[in-house]
């Protein structure tokens, strides 16, 4: 019998459960490796070569190279791990958050200052055509 996963239907939200953690294990451990300065340097020097040291899927590698965080999350990435890619790039967390919402960082920061995204307000995936 399938396990109950009532959280599947929440718009614009992916719950990092055991299944996704299994798919994303190497992707997340790659991110974890970026906590060491020497690994950040090696990654920055040749991203593709560094990624090829990890048994990640080609899709996962492409999503990292494109900095497509929504795609990384679909492929098993967790935001606390993925944040280490942004830190390596010298980007703020707000930059990363904005990139997942289809807003510019300025638009996103303004939304937060005005009280954040209201519950029930529309959610737009930046990869969908407007």
């Amino acid at each position: 019998m399938a396990l109950d996963k009532p959280y599947k239907g929440i718009p614009g939200t992916t719950i990092f459960d055991a299944d996704l953690a299994r798919k994303g294990y190497h992707l997340n451990q790659f991110c974890m490796s970026l906590m060491k300065a020497e690994n950040r340097e090696r990654f920055k020097a040749n991203e593709r070569a560094y990624l090829d040291e990890w048994p990640m899927s080609e899709e996962q590698k492409q999503a990292v190279l494109a900095r497509d965080l929504n795609r990384c999350i679909e492929l098993g990435g967790n935001i606390y791990f993925l944040a280490k890619i942004g830190a390596t790039d010298g980007k703020s967390f707000q930059f990363m958050a904005a990139s997942m919402t289809g807003m510019t960082q300025e638009e996103y920061a303004k939304m937060m200052l005005q009280g954040g995204r209201a519950p029930g307000s529309p959610v737009r995936d930046p990869r969908e055509k407007q």
């Binding site: 459960d17 055991a18 451990q29 967390f93 958050a97 996103y108 937060m112 954040g116 995204r117 737009r124």
Partner: protein, 282 residues
């Protein structure tokens, strides 16, 4: 005389708050209202410094990668260093633990059927050090020993609110059986509403958060029945951290608490900040 829990403190642990303090930005217009909300807390803490703090928090892919994911982990070490989360460690003091009380609590709580993971070596990240900075201020040495208690709220399923509340009760009992007249505070951290991932990132739910604060004070046992789905829908995917507040609340007496301070502010970076100080009646 035995040890007892005197009060509980609840607060968000947003990393940007630590960065604002460390970079001397707490007087900026953006941060001023937030830090003003913690001034009464710092004064309260000076008047009510405990012998030990039991600090419930979560690690954010710092000490625990996906190699090991303990649901509940208690620190039994002599000390804990602030972690390097990728930008160098926060410039805050090393935290002294309380190995004797921590081991005693582990022994008692495990015998009460909560299977804790015992940790004898780990670094602590912003989830742990930001609450200390907010309440104790920028100090050369932390004012008392602190026991870290890490909860998995990163990989689902995370523990239920009910289990967290009952765990708090088991911690209360364990403390009451410790044969030394220690005053212990229990802190629950994380939350409030926030979502850091996906197209819905930036969600804030002021109304739901304030209702959570009301109910945490007045009817915590009923609040503990809130299902995970409601946290995620209403408070965002990372709002689930609020189950950790129920551990601290469960450790309080069954009598109504005295509300020493309450504060709510939006935003700190991507997050709604909530804060409560509850004292046990004597």
């Amino acid at each position: 005389m035995m040890a007892r829990i005197t009060a509980s403190v609840y607060t968000s642990h947003v990393p940007a708050i630590g960065a604002a303090l460390d970079l001397g930005k707490s007087g900026d217009d953006y941060w001023k209202p937030l830090f003003a909300g913690y001034e009464p807390s710092k004064a309260w803490f000076k008047e009510n410094t405990p012998d030990v703090i039991f600090l419930v928090y979560n690690d954010h892919a710092t000490a625990f990668s996906l190699d090991m994911i303990p649901t509940f982990a208690i620190g039994c070490a002599a000390e804990y260093k602030p972690a390097d989360e990728g930008w160098g460690p926060r410039p805050v003091p090393t935290v002294k633990g309380h190995a004797e009380l921590a081991s005693h609590i582990a022994q008692s709580v495990i015998q009460d059927d909560f299977d804790l993971t015992i940790v004898n070596r780990m670094d602590v990240d912003h989830g742990f050090t930001v609450p200390l900075s907010l309440i104790c201020g920028q100090v050369a040495e932390w004012p008392c020993p602190v026991i870290p208690f890490a909860v998995n709220v990163v990989q689902y399923p995370v523990p239920s609110g009910r289990r967290c509340f009952n765990l708090g009760r088991a911690i209360r009992k364990a403390v009451s059986l410790y044969d030394e007249p220690l005053k212990v505070q229990i802190w629950g951290t994380g939350g409030m509403s926030h979502q850091l991932q996906g197209p819905r990132a930036g969600l804030i739910n002021r109304e739901w958060d304030n209702r959570f604060l009301d109910r945490l004070i007045a009817e915590p046992e009923k609040l503990a029945d809130t299902p995970h789905l409601e946290y995620v829908q209403q408070a965002g995917s990372e709002g689930i951290e609020l189950v950790m507040w129920l551990i601290a609340r469960g450790a309080m007496s069954d009598l109504p608490p005295r509300v020493a301070h309450r504060f709510y502010h939006v935003p700190a970076s991507n997050t709604a900040v909530g804060h409560l100080i509850l004292e046990n009646s004597q």
